[in-house]
């Protein structure tokens, strides 16, 4: 999750997640507008498994990254540049792990 405005964020998956999934064949989003926390808003398709995407907070979806429709494998090469959705949410970044805390947790 990357802050891009006062209340706006880009959201995607981590390098750790893309490595666990392996080659990504398809990314699908099935929600729009205002959505609640912990709601399924899409899925990432690996070679032989589908991983559900769950909203981390109550938010409003502003945009979907359509580049991923054409080439979902971008996520494998550069997960932090290819965001999935941009959202607007009244949350504080402190509620989530930052990059350093996350790396510490996953290593």
């Amino acid at each position: 999750m990357r802050k891009i405005g006062l209340y706006d964020f880009c959201i995607g998956i981590t390098d750790f997640a893309q490595k666990e999934i392996g080659e990504i064949d398809l990314v699908e989003f099935n929600a729009e507008g205002k959505i609640k926390e912990a709601v399924s808003w899409g899925a990432v398709y690996g070679i032989n498994k589908t991983f559900p995407l769950i909203s981390p907070c109550e938010c409003e979806i502003i945009a979907v990254n359509t580049i991923l429709n054409k080439k979902p494998s971008h996520i494998n090469t550069d997960p932090y540049s290819y965001w999935f959705l941009s959202i607007s949410a009244d949350i504080s970044k402190g509620e989530f792990l930052n990059y350093e805390e996350y790396i510490e947790l996953t290593q």
Partner: protein
């Protein structure tokens, strides 16, 4: 509590050194991929790739009653075999399902080798032993045999450097035993489950490291690469080949699975009467191939729907085809909906996703 130790093949250390991503597969620690599934798939379709398939089971059947035993337990007609020929077959159970699918190698008179799926070795052994009323010697030699599948259009060129055996003369589904890479008594078989052509090489475990090294040296110019089991699955699925545990199992009939061509009623085998009746009455569901028209990739166990969202079948295998760049799959479906070109819907995360029934294989064989 009993802990089950994951078995390792004789190539295990090599997989680790080469950076293979290792997973537990049918009780064995096996490489699922190295550089990437799509890349490895491509290597096999257009060049040459090497799979460690030593986890497969080998059962030796020897003695005067060997052929009668094999005739009793398998559905194909093993009397058609001659030494040096291989036959794809299946072992029907006594409830209309399949114990396993397998390869039957005729080594010589009263001497056969059955090659079975890793996950079924013990089940198959018990089943064969329980049917052995012929006094046949049955030995599980799986743990002493290593098996490499060298697959792809360039496999002949690479392997020919290592033997005097004329590999081009080995027809599909035949084998020979001879010297290969200075190793004596190697069983070289023109088989494989990729549809890309190539060979399977059976050796004793102690020669494994030498064999691997020699093959990779010989294949250097052809850019030979190791391939993991994930690409084996995408390759076999593009050919419409069944995978035990996915597309066939103890509860699916060989006739429903489209394996009528290896179900020969010219002889009696376990429960053949039941299958004969099934054939005469006609099957109510069958295994078909489909291509997804919309977005989504189904997975094993997903429901197949008709237009009214009624369940008419179930998905058994599916993947994004690296060759066709679209999602393909197989599944059992009521025969009335199973014609080529019929439109079906697959329940992907509670949404009907359109698919079309197509003929398999999904792609042409490399040699076609």
């Amino acid at each position: 509590m009993q802990t089950i130790k994951t078995k390792k093949t004789a190539f295990n250390a090599i997989h680790h050194i080469l950076g293979g991503k290792m997973v537990d597969f049918a009780g064995y620690e096996m490489p699922v991929k190295y550089k990437g599934v799509n890349h490895e798939h491509e290597i096999v379709r257009n060049g040459v790739g090497v799979f460690d398939v030593s986890h497969m089971g080998e059962i030796s059947i020897q003695g005067k009653g060997a052929l009668p035993l094999i005739q009793k337990i398998t559905s194909n007609d093993a009397s058609k075999l001659i030494p040096g020929k291989v036959q794809y077959s299946c072992m029907p159970n006594d409830t209309g399902g399949i114990v396993d699918d397998l390869l039957v190698y005729m080594i010589g008179q009263d001497d056969y080798l059955l090659v079975v799926n890793a996950s079924n070795i013990q089940k198959d052994l018990s089943w064969i032993l329980s049917n052995n009323s012929f006094g046949v010697e049955i030995i599980n030699i799986s743990d002493s045999i290593s098996l490499l599948a060298v697959q792809g259009p360039k496999a002949v060129k690479v392997l020919q450097k290592l033997t005097d055996i004329k590999l081009k003369d080995l027809e599909y589904y035949t084998f020979t035993i001879g010297e290969f890479a200075s190793i004596p008594n190697v069983l070289l078989s023109s088989t494989g489950y990729t549809g890309a052509g190539g060979f399977e090489i059976y050796i004793e475990n102690r020669y494994a490291a030498h064999l691997w090294e020699t093959i990779f040296e010989a294949g250097n110019e052809e850019n030979i690469e190791p391939v993991g089991l994930a690409a084996r699955d995408t390759l076999r699925l593009e050919m419409g080949f069944c995978l035990y545990g996915n597309d066939i199992d103890d509860f699916t009939s060989p006739l429903e699975a489209g394996l009528g061509w290896i179900t020969k009623f010219t002889k009696d085998f376990v429960h053949s009467g039941f299958l004969k009746i099934e054939k005469e009455k006609g099957i109510t569901k069958k295994l078909v191939g489909f291509e997804i028209e919309d977005k989504g990739i189904p997975r094993h166990g997903y429901e197949i729907w008709n237009l009214n969202r009624e369940v008419i079948g179930v998905v058994t295998s599916s993947t994004m085809s690296p060759t066709l760049k679209k999602a393909i799959g197989m599944g059992y479906i009521s025969t009335e909906y199973s014609n080529i070109g019929d439109e079906i819907f697959i329940n992907i995360r509670n949404k009907p996703v359109k698919a079309i029934i197509v003929r398999t294989p999904f792609i042409k064989k490399s040699s076609d």
